[in-house]
Amino acid sequence: MNFFQGIADSFYKALIVQERWKMLLEGLGNTLIIALGATVLGVAIGIVLAIIKYSADGSKNIVIRILDKIASIYITVIRGTPVMVQLFILSTAVLVSIRQGIIIAIIGMGLNSGAYVAEIIRAGINAVDKGQNEAGRSLGLSKGQTMRYIILPQAVKNILPALGNEFIVLLKETSVVGYIAVEDLTFAAQRIKTVSYDPTAFFIAAGVYLVMVIGLTAILRKIERRLARSDHR
């Protein structure tokens, strides 16, 4: 059996036998669902956390101060512990009543991503020159109006590229959800390897991740160029 036949044989075992390509495809579907769901949840949580942190700055309102403390603790804990351990804790201790692992995976990855998104938004807002805020306030605009009409339109240009990177990281990080028995792309490859005694499925999975990341990166570049074109600084 020559080299090329060997490769063909490996691919045959990884994809064709017992219609194993269907397992990979289903896994890919789950990976995409988790990544998308977690992204939406993560952005929502991130925005809420960022708003809390922004309103708390200089505020004496006790409710906001407490919310701010909670947000800080949340961000510290999430960023300070491995996502896999977070998933184990969710699936075995917090969300035990939820049967579908995929929902736990979405919630877990979303909760995790939210902490990072909050920091991305905060950093993007802080990167806008302080004088912009002062100019807005000196014109009699409220804190909220200054945020909406002056700071945010400029901050978005800092935030969007970093958010894009966060999604790419998130997409790859979903590969740990197999540990809470969710059948994602990585998990499917693992199962095929176990029954076929051949690691080719891992290479195929790696190729699929790579294509998705390269595609996403290209889209992000395009968006960044768009933003740069409307940049008048």
Binding site: D129, G131, Q132, E134, A135, G136, R137, S138, L139, G140, L141, S142, Q145, Y149, I150, P153, Q154, H232, R233
Partner: protein
């Protein structure tokens, strides 16, 4: 017009303003000079509460603006501010820079605001740049737009925080000319500046601040011609 009582500002351990009592009357053009770190910018920024005083009270037309119940945003509409770094909004055209605040305040409709903005831009000599973005015009033009933007709200007093310090030398004159014209029109002005020529020719009163206190103040003739305070004499000998 503005009365300050016991105004004190500290940054941590550092005492920047030291129990200042001062009044600026309507129609005055007050120039504030002093060495760097003397507190002159901080004093100006306290007047519209961009900087919160640590202690003391500030009254505008008898109304205490340091009172927590005071409507700060409404008060700030009455006090225009011009910054050293211009602080135009880079994502908006010159015209939009001008109309944003008055339209949000519902002071004017969009059309009225644009009409007023064009008239003011004409007054400061940059009407032809209305559709451009701040990055596309020179520093002197930016500062003139910033002055016009502040005038959109018909302020009762204009605060200038080193308005020419970030400009190339050949652009200083055009900004000072706009300020002179403004002073001649009767606007009450408080100007932190290093432009001694401007202070001498335009100010109704010049004040010298050092280590958080006003050490001397007088008419420009007396202030520059017959300075008393030793620190002021030393300062003037270095800058004149």
């Amino acid at each position: 017009m503005i009365t300050v009582k016991g105004l004190t500002k500290t940054f941590g351990e550092l005492l920047v303003l030291d129990h200042i009592d001062e009044t600026i009357e309507k129609g005055e053009v007050v120039c504030i000079i002093g060495p760097s770190g003397s507190g002159k910018s901080t004093f100006l920024r306290c007047l519209n509460l961009l900087e919160r005083p640590t202690e003391g009270q500030i009254f505008v037309d008898g109304e205490e603006i340091t009172d927590p119940k005071c409507n700060l945003n409404a008060m700030r509409e009455r006090m225009g501010m011009v910054f050293q770094q211009f602080n135009l909004f880079p994502h908006l055209t010159i015209l939009k820079n001008m109309t944003l605040a008055p339209v949000l305040h519902k002071q004017y409709t969009k059309a009225q605001a644009e009409e007023k903005a064009m008239a003011l831009l004409k007054r400061v000599g940059v009407a032809d740049k209305a559709q451009m973005y701040p990055s596309q015009i020179s520093g002197g033009q930016k500062q003139r737009v910033a002055i016009a933007r502040a005038l959109m709200l018909d302020p009762e007093i204009m605060l200038f925080d080193e308005p020419t310090s970030a400009l190339d030398p050949e652009m200083v004159g055009e900004v000072l000319d706009v300020m002179k014209e403004l002073a001649a029109s009767g606007m009450t002005m408080a100007v932190v500046t290093h432009e001694m020529g401007f202070a001498r020719s335009v100010a109704s009163r010049v004040m010298f601040i050092d280590q958080g206190k006003f050490r001397e103040q007088n008419t420009p003739e007396e202030f520059f011609g017959n300075p008393q305070n030793p620190r002021l004499r030393e300062f003037l000998s270095k800058v004149l």
